[in-house]
C-alpha cells in the first residue's frame, strides 16, 4: 500500500485521519440528534431489525427447543406424580370455582347496588418472547420479538409473573427494547400498597448483583411501613399504570434528614430467568386522553 508505487486496481483510499474526523462528526451529530429527536431511530431501527431479528428469533427458538428437551427428560418422572396431584386439585378447584362464581354474581349485584365502578378494567396484554439481551455489562435491557407491527409503542409497561419488569424504551417494526426496572438508568414512582405512601424505586447495578432494588424518598411519618410490605406502581407515575406489583420491602432505614426513609426491596419478578413477558397495551397517557 505504498503511496509511491501505485499498482493497477488499487483504489483511492481516504487517509485514516480524515475518516476518523468525518465519522467522529457523524457520531456526535447522531448523538445530538437522537438526544433531542428520534429522526434516526426509526430508519436505523427498521434496517437493523430486518437484518438481525430473524436470526435472533431463530436462535431464541433453537435455544428454547434445546432447553425444552432437557427439561422434558428431567421432568417426566415428576410430571407423572404432579399429574395425579393436579387432577385432584382440578376436582377441588372446580368445586371452589362454582362457589366463587356464585360469590362473584353476588358481588356484582352488590357493586351495582353501591354504584361502585371498578377502578380500572383489566388491562389488555400481549405476550412476547425475549430474543436478545444487552451485551454490555452496565445496564439491564433486553429485546423482544414484537414491535410496532404488533401494536407495541414506546413507554408501554412490561410485566411477567404478576410483577413489573420495565417499560418499552425503544421500538422498531419487529422488535422492541425493554429497559428493566433493575437497570441503573431506571426510576419508578411507587407506593406502599397498605399505607399508600409514595416512594422512588431506583434500579442500580449494585442492587442488580445483590438481587434487590433500592428505594428512597419514602415519607413514612407514622412508622407504618414494615419489611414484607407490598410496593406497587403509584398513581402519580406518568409512565407506569397504577397498582402493578413491583416487589416486597426487605430492609428500611431512616435517612439522615430524618424526614424520609430508604431501603431495599425484593423484586416480584425473577429477572435472572426471564424468557417471556407480557406487554400491557394500555398506556397511561392514552387512557387519560379518552
Amino acid at each position: 500500500m505504498s503511496p509511491i508505487v501505485k499498482r493497477k486496481g488499487e483504489r483511492f483510499t481516504l487517509p485514516s485521519k480524515w475518516l476518523l474526523f468525518i465519522l467522529t462528526i457523524v457520531c456526535s451529530a447522531l448523538m445530538l440528534f437522537t438526544f433531542a429527536t428520534d429522526v434516526f431511530d426509526k430508519p436505523l431501527g427498521t434496517i437493523v431489525g430486518y437484518v438481525l431479528v430473524p436470526f435472533e428469533k431463530g436462535i431464541g427458538a433453537a435455544g428454547g427447543w434445546f432447553s425444552g428437551r432437557k427439561d422434558e427428560l428431567s421432568q417426566i418422572r415428576t410430571l407423572i406424580k404432579e399429574n395425579q396431584d393436579l387432577k385432584e386439585q382440578v376436582a377441588r378447584l372446580t368445586e371452589e370455582n362454582t362457589l366463587l362464581q356464585q360469590d362473584k354474581y353476588e358481588l356484582n349485584k352488590l357493586r351495582q347496588l353501591f354504584e361502585l365502578d371498578e377502578q380500572y378494567e383489566e388491562y389488555h396484554k400481549v405476550g412476547a418472547r425475549i430474543i436478545s439481551r444487552d451485551s454490555g455489562n452496565w445496564y439491564a435491557a433486553f429485546v423482544i420479538d414484537k414491535g410496532t407491527n404488533d401494536g407495541i409503542r414506546e413507554d408501554m409497561n412490561v410485566i411477567a409473573g404478576g410483577g413489573l419488569v420495565g417499560r418499552i424504551s425503544a421500538v422498531g417494526p419487529n422488535w422492541a427494547r425493554v429497559t428493566a426496572i433493575i437497570s441503573d438508568n431506571a426510576n419508578v414512582s411507587g407506593m406502599t400498597l397498605a399505607t399508600e405512601d409514595n416512594l422512588i424505586v431506583s434500579g442500580s447495578l449494585k442492587g442488580m448483583n445483590e438481587g434487590v432494588i433500592y428505594f428512597s424518598k419514602l415519607v413514612d411519618s407514622k412508622e407504618a411501613v414494615q419489611a414484607g410490605d407490598k410496593i406497587v406502581t403509584s398513581d402519580i407515575s406518568d409512565k407506569f399504570l397504577p397498582g402493578i406489583l413491583i416487589g416486597y420491602v426487605l430492609t428500611i432505614t431512616p435517612d439522615n434528614n430524618n424526614l424520609t426513609k430508604s431501603g431495599t426491596l425484593i423484586p416480584a419478578v425473577d429477572f435472572e430467568h426471564l424468557s417471556e413477558v407480557l406487554i400491557i397495551t394500555d398506556q397511561k397517557q392514552l387512557m387519560e386522553e379518552k
Binding site: S16, L19, L20, L23, C27, S132, G136, R177
Partner: protein, 169 residues
C-alpha cells in the same frame, strides 16, 4: 470485496453470539465483549481505516438495540479501532502476545470510558465497586474469549488472503 463480506459476516455472527446466545448459555453475570475483539483485531490486522469502519459498525449495531443515544458506542468503538490500527505496523500474525495485550487494554479502556460517561456523570462515585464487579471481570472474560475467537478471526482472514493471492497468479 470478499474480505469486506467476511468482516461483515463476522460482526453479525459475533453480535448474535454476544446478545442472543451467550446470555442464555453462559451462567455468568458478566459477559465477554466480543465486539471489542472483532473491532480491535481488525484494527491491528488490517490497519486504521478498517478498524475505524468496523468499530463504527459494531458500535452502531449496539447503539440501535441497546444504546440510550445513538452514536455513543459507535464513537467509542471507532476510536478503539483507530488506536488498534496504529499497531498494525508492528503486528505479526505469528505473535499472539500483542493481540492479547491490545484487546485486553482496549476492553479496559472501554470499560473505564463507559463508567465515566454513563455513571460518573450521574454522580455515581463508587468507582472501586464498578471496577471490581464489572470492568475487571469483563476484562478477564474478554481475555479468555480472545483466546478462543481471535485465532478463528485470524485464520479466516489468512485463508482468504492466501486464496486471493493464488487467484492473482
Amino acid at each position: 470485496m470478499l474480505s469486506f463480506l467476511l468482516t461483515f459476516v463476522l460482526i453479525i455472527i459475533l453480535f448474535l453470539l454476544q446478545t442472543a446466545v451467550f446470555p442464555g448459555v453462559l451462567p455468568l453475570h458478566v459477559l465477554p465483549n466480543l465486539l471489542i475483539i472483532v473491532t480491535a483485531s481488525h484494527g491491528f490486522m488490517k490497519g486504521e481505516n478498517t478498524g475505524i469502519v468496523v468499530g463504527f459498525v459494531c458500535g452502531l449495531l449496539y447503539d440501535v438495540f441497546f444504546g440510550e443515544v445513538i452514536g455513543f458506542h459507535a464513537l467509542l468503538y471507532l476510536y478503539v479501532g483507530f488506536i488498534n490500527g496504529k499497531f498494525s505496523r508492528v503486528f505479526y500474525p505469528e505473535d499472539i502476545k500483542l493481540p492479547l495485550a491490545l484487546i485486553t487494554v482496549s476492553d479496559l479502556t472501554y470499560g473505564l470510558l463507559c463508567y465515566i460517561f454513563l455513571f460518573l456523570v450521574w454522580g455515581k462515585l463508587d468507582f472501586p465497586y464498578y471496577f471490581v464487579h464489572v470492568i475487571l471481570p469483563e476484562m478477564i472474560i474478554t481475555l479468555v474469549a480472545t483466546l478462543i475467537f481471535y485465532p478463528v478471526i485470524l485464520k479466516l482472514h489468512e485463508a482468504l488472503r492466501i486464496r486471493q493471492r493464488k487467484r492473482e497468479y
